[in-house]
């Protein structure tokens, strides 16, 4: 079972840039938290500080109630999987997996048994004697995962472990990592810039920006109630449609909707942030928009539309509904009831 992890006020500066700015993070035992954000947001720096591969300028790291930020990397009991394959080329898969146990003084026979157990767990029981060059990228990352889990780490740290793999292997391994994590109950921090990966695997996703967490929530909460424009834009598709203030509501595409937060009621150049699936489209010769194009995505279809004022946006509907729509059709678009973010254009 994994251990709880806390980061308190962690700050890391590199010369003029602030990579982490007073970061707080609280991860429960056995939880999988994804750190999601654009490159340079500080997510990898946070991971390296937890691992002890980098030192914070200020702040504390706690694991299982113990402060560990002064400990060197090798005394922290963290399993780490890197983006680039980091297996030792002079050792075979079994020896790689057993390395962490060897460093902890476990006996040879126990090491071998545990390595086999882990290799079986990651689906490579027959690859124990293979060297790095005899394994595919996906297999190497599986061995790396087995190696990181073999000594039952307090926390498992995954630094974009899937980015170097091709799409199909990535999707498979994503599911495998998650099921393995649930099976072992290891507290896991997963760094990624791929929102789909983060949303599909994590218990909670921390969206990072400028060295701090913009929002940390369960994937569905993050998607439906983004805290700000950055989170809204980073997670899922988001339309920016012109909005007009009407008392305490705003008018968007002829619909009056509630406002969750508004940038400034006095401004006239405002846009509402609306998900493609929050729009209802129906054919109407006196409508407010025009169909530009339609793309088929299997059960669902994406329809590219344009307001009569020329602003482009997207709507998502079932493919069955979309068959009635053709390029050039005039349609009436309504916004479903709900609370929306309204920001400056």
């Amino acid at each position: 079972m994994g251990a709880p992890l806390q980061l308190q006020g962690v700050t890391r500066k590199f010369k003029d840039t602030v990579a982490l700015n007073n970061l707080d993070l609280d991860v429960a035992a056995g939880e999988l938290v994804a750190l999601l954000g654009p490159s340079g947001c500080g997510k990898t720096t946070a991971l390296r500080i937890i691992a002890g591969l980098d030192r914070a300028n200020a702040g504390q790291v706690w694991v299982n109630g113990k402060q560990i930020d002064k400990l060197p990397a090798h005394k922290r009991n963290m399993g780490m999987v890197f983006q680039s394959y980091s297996l030792f080329p002079n050792l075979n898969a079994e020896e790689n997996v057993a390395f962490g146990l060897k460093m902890r003084g476990t006996s040879k026979s126990q090491r071998r048994d545990r390595a086999h157990e882990l290799l079986t767990l990651v689906g490579l029981p027959d690859h124990a004697k293979r060297f790095t060059h005899q394994l595919s990228g996906g297999q190497q990352q599986r061995v790396a995962l087995a190696r990181a889990l073999a000594f039952e780490p307090d926390v498992l740290l995954l630094d974009e472990p899937l980015s170097a793999l091709d799409a199909k292997v990535r999707a498979n391994l994503r599911d495998e990592i998650r099921s393995l994590q649930l099976k072992t109950g290891t507290t896991t921090i997963f760094v990624t810039h791929d929102q789909e990966e983060a949303m599909s695997m994590a218990d909670r996703v921390a969206v990072m920006n400028h060295g701090n967490i913009a929002q940390i929530d369960a994937p569905d909460v993050l998607y439906h109630s983004p805290a700000d424009e950055f989170v809204a834009g980073f997670v899922g598709q988001m339309n920016r449609i012109p909005a007009e203030v009407k008392k305490d509501k705003v008018k968007v595409l002829d619909s009056l909707v509630s406002v969750k937060s508004i940038h400034d009621y006095q401004r006239t150049d405002l846009v509402a942030l609306i998900r493609p699936e929050a729009l209802e489209v129906s054919l109407s010769p006196k409508g407010n928009s025009r169909v530009v194009a339609r793309s088929f995505l299997g059960p669902m279809s994406k329809v590219l539309l344009q307001t009569l004022g020329g602003v482009e946006f997207q709507a998502v509907m079932t493919s069955e509904q979309s068959t009635a729509l053709h390029s050039g059709d005039i349609v009436q678009v309504k916004v479903k009831a709900g609370e929306y973010l309204v920001v400056a254009a």
């Binding site: 090798h74 399993g79 780490m80 980091s86 030792f88 080329p89 460093m103 060297f131 060059h133 990181a148």
Partner: protein, 260 residues
């Protein structure tokens, strides 16, 4: 099968031509050194001649010792430097590259005069000064061999992985980095040994005698004997390098296949 053979034909031709280019002069020298003009047959007379010379063993061992000394100096100096540079000392990379290139730019004569005028007397009177000089001469080749080899390994990630798995810095260097870079270190060692064993100009300019200068002196009196000596030194250096290669094969074996 037939197609495969056809495809590798150009390779065989290239290897064949290279082999002829390298081996033909060697074989000819070998054949020539075995001739015995007085009796018009072949024999080891000239080999026995130099083996019986009183200074033969002395100069051979001296050259070997100096070459090993040079290799030790270079490896102690360059292996940690190259590992450190590849682990993150990027700022000084330019300076190190420049310094290690200097021996190629500075003429050997200038090096020799520099050594004679600036080194203290105890250094000038000890022949092991030659080890240091050979180390300087071999530095450009040894450093580049090491650096290229280290660059081929994702050293930073591998050391971080090792530390994350519970290995201290010392264990990381000894148990992880050293086995991985062993092949590269050996290549640098070969380069230094081969260059040191064949060095003539600097040794001669500094008025020292080693195996190479001794061979030159001896050859003036007995041309067939000198050729026999040259063949012997070529073959013995080759055998020496092969032996070192065989000695460390088990560990470097996996790496060489890994690199392919």
């Amino acid at each position: 099968m037939r197609r495969l053979r056809l495809a590798s034909l150009p390779m065989y031709i290239a290897v064949g031509i290279s082999a002829i280019y390298v081996l033909l002069p060697l074989l000819s020298a070998g054949e020539f050194s075995l001739r015995q003009p007085a009796t018009h047959d072949y024999g080891f007379k000239h080999y026995i001649w130099f083996l019986e010379l009183p200074d033969f063993a002395h100069y051979l061992l001296l050259s070997l010792g100096l070459a090993l000394g040079a290799a030790a100096i270079l490896l102690i100096l360059l292996v940690p430097t190259a590992i450190w540079l590849n682990l993150g000392g990027q700022k000084l990379r330019g300076l190190v590259e420049f310094l290690t290139l200097l021996p190629l730019v500075i003429p050997v004569v200038a090096l020799a005069i520099g050594a004679q005028t600036s080194l203290p007397e105890f250094a000038q009177t000890n022949e092991f000064i030659l080890s240091f000089m050979y180390a300087i001469l071999a530095m450009p080749y040894a450093y580049r061999t090491l650096d290229t080899g280290l660059k081929a390994v994702p050293l930073k990630t591998i050391t971080e992985a090792a530390r994350g798995l519970g290995a201290s810095w010392i264990r990381t260097i000894i148990q992880v980095v050293t086995p991985i870079v062993r092949g590269t270190v050996l290549s640098a060692l070969f380069m230094t040994l081969a260059l040191s064993l064949g060095e003539f100009t600097l040794t001669s300019l500094l008025h020292w005698d080693t195996f190479t200068t001794w061979v030159t002196t001896m050859s003036q009196g007995n041309i067939l004997g000198a050729i026999a000596l040259s063949v012997f030194s070529l073959v013995s250096v080759f055998v020496l390098l092969m032996l070192i290669g065989l000695f460390v094969k088990p560990a470097s074996n996996q790496l060489s296949t890994e690199e392919n």
